[in-house]
């Protein structure tokens, strides 16, 4: 072996482990357990000795949500570009790692813990045992084909624990398939549809026992029966239900027009989320002053006092708006853009009153987060915690508003 080829080998040995670090650095929560599962899969030949097989095996084990598929594809395409035919290198990397389980570069503490906890000798013995078993089982018909002498368990055709994969994917290589990025539309940070938002909103709940009593309360039944001197007395209790109500306060008109569809989507998601105790919505324009409105035409006026009476403190308040306006609308007396408002106090005062009435409130902003340094947005953010109107943003918001 020339020194040059040795260098290549070392490089290949790193590629396998480096792939996991790449996945992790892309935000996929890949854990050492999943990684060991993949090693087990490889040892059993479930990748069918093709990169396509490896791709689909690794994807099944590493990806846990269709939202992550695109990131996985990106990582895979970037990582295995140029090594498309080099399955033996990946297989060798697994063995190299097993014989010397030290990550080649950055050591993540979590990984280190697991690496130390792994009984390498036992793992290796187990893999060898399985391989021996597989070889034996294979003596009858097909037999192992070494792939260039580097792989202990590479195989050309069908494999004992193996899968017919490669043949089905004649149309493209694994990297090509990954590079197609077919799962792009499932990304969580880009897409927003009613359904995804509904899912995000389901996090907004706090359960308590309500409604018709149709669950047997065993403890009480025993207790009451004993009190009745053994005469059976069945006691039922109501099932658990969400006790949270939600009030959506939406900014309409003006600079909100471009976001109309986005807001509509959120609205219909929230409207269809049946798990709230109560769901209502009111409107405002730019900033809240003396009142909000029951309809988007602003004819049904709801003074703040009424608002506070109709929706109790426990109601979760969610404001939606771009918070983008002339800062004076927030900071100045009579600063309202709409002359009918005649606000005696600065807008910020009213906003604070609203915030102080509700135990939990938050502001959803459809504008990109890069724009949040605008003066008016900064002012609003001092009053309300602000989240982006994305699936992730709504999830965050729901989690925070659900906490007691």
């Amino acid at each position: 072996m020339t020194p040059e080829s040795e260098a290549v080998q070392t490089d290949n040995a790193g590629i396998f482990l480096a792939f996991f670090f790449r996945l992790r650095s892309h935000g996929l929560k890949v854990t050492p357990q999943q990684w060991l599962t993949l090693i087990e899969g490889l040892a059993r030949g479930l990748h069918g000795s093709s990169l396509m097989g490896f791709y689909s095996l690794a994807r099944g084990i590493m990806v846990k949500d269709e939202a992550e598929l695109d990131d996985f594809d990106l990582c895979f395409a970037a990582h295995f570009k140029g090594v498309e035919t080099d399955v033996p290198a990946i297989e060798k990397a697994v063995w190299d790692w097993l014989s010397n389980p030290v990550p080649p570069f950055v050591i993540d503490p979590e990984w280190l813990k697991v690496i130390h906890s792994v009984d390498v000798a036992a793992l290796r013995a187990e893999l060898e045992r399985r391989l021996a078993e597989q070889t034996e089982r294979h003596d009858g018909g097909n037999y192992w084909v070494g792939t260039g002498g580097t792989s202990a368990f590479g195989h050309s055709g069908s494999h004992p624990g193996g899968i017919r994969v490669g043949g089905d994917h004649g149309a493209g290589t694994a990297v090509q398939v990954a590079a197609e990025r077919r799962y792009q539309e499932h990304r969580k940070d880009r897409v927003l549809d009613t359904r995804q938002l509904s899912v995000a909103l389901t996090k907004l709940r706090a359960l308590e026992r309500r409604g018709p009593a149709d669950e047997l309360d065993l403890e009480d039944t025993i207790d009451r029966t004993a009190r009745e001197g053994g005469e059976l007395e069945l006691v039922f209790k109501p099932p658990r239900e969400n006790r949270l109500g939600v009030l959506l306060v939406m900014d309409v008109g003006g600079s909100m027009w471009p976001f109309k569809q986005l807001v509509d989507t959120l609205f219909s998601a929230a409207h269809h989320a049946r798990h709230f105790k109560r769901f209502d919505h009111v409107y405002f324009h730019n900033c809240i002053y003396e009142r909000v409105y029951g309809n988007a035409a602003f004819s049904d006026k709801i003074p703040l006092g009424d608002l506070f009476r109709r929706w109790d403190r426990e109601t979760r308040l969610v404001l939606i708006g771009d918070a983008y306006m002339y800062p004076g609308e927030i900071t100045d007396r009579f600063g309202a853009i709409d002359w009918t408002e005649r606000n005696e106090r600065p807008g910020a005062d009213y906003l604070e009153r609203v915030r102080d009435h509700f135990t939990h409130c938050a502001w959803l902003n459809p504008m990109r987060e890069e724009a949040w340094e605008e003066p008016s947005i900064r002012l609003i953010r001092r009053i309300f915690p602000m989240y982006p109107l994305t699936v992730q943003g709504v999830e965050e918001l729901a989690k925070n508003l659900a906490v007691g």
């Binding site: 357990q33 689909s56 099944g60 084990i61 078993e133 899912v199």
Partner: protein, 285 residues
Amino acid sequence: MRTHDFSRFSGTESYITSPELRHAVNVAAAIQRPLLVRGEPGTGKTLLATAIAEDLELELISWYVKSTSKAADGLYVYDTVKRLQDSRFGDHDVSDIRQYIQLGPLGRALTDERQVVLLIDEIDKADLEFPNDLLHELDVMEFTVTETGDSHRATRRPVVIITSNAEKELPDPFLRRCIFHFIEFPDEELMTRIVRVHHPEIGKKLLEQCLARFYWLRKVKGLRKRPSTSELVDWIGALLSAGVQPGQLANEIPFLGALIKKEEDGEAVGKAMAGSAGRWPTDDA
């Protein structure tokens, strides 16, 4: 190791799969992990388990999860109320608790002496903690009936297929133990094969046009519920039994109600058809 037998799953005559899905099934069976299947409604998640059972000639035990389902109920239910009632009048022997223990789907799968396919359907419908409560049983494949002290351990690990509509995020520890597969919506080629399984008599031209309309409909903006495979199959069934000819699809979609189930969606489609002058599929020429 008998598990190697599972690498045979290759779809059945009535259930057409993608190679990736077959791989996922086989991987899950080989490393003995549950297979978690996700995908749009109507992509055949539930039918997959039936197909696997049929293909591998194993019995299928289905557990249709509801919002009120409890993990423990899947193992067994102890009918306390019945036992208490029976004890009231002394005309029953209530000393044998076993007669009040009713095994649930998971319990039956674990106690069956033969290997079975266990389908846990729509796991996301239940409480958020539901999947976590199943972790132990799915891992070690054994359980104990607390009331009687009987322990059961699966002699043959069932093949576990779990479907989810992603209505709630499933807990990470649960996800880590599963092999994940996302069923993509079938492309036209796969869809052609699927439709042909259900309606072998359909003419080539009519099928092409149906698919063109169908995929066009799915792209209409603002649909609350996009039509799925099963709706397409039903719709084509309706077209065939009404004797619709290919030409009739040129300007209208007969039996639209078979594809579009919501009133708002019907309006959206109407609008899209009216304003689609150039974009309407023009494959009739």
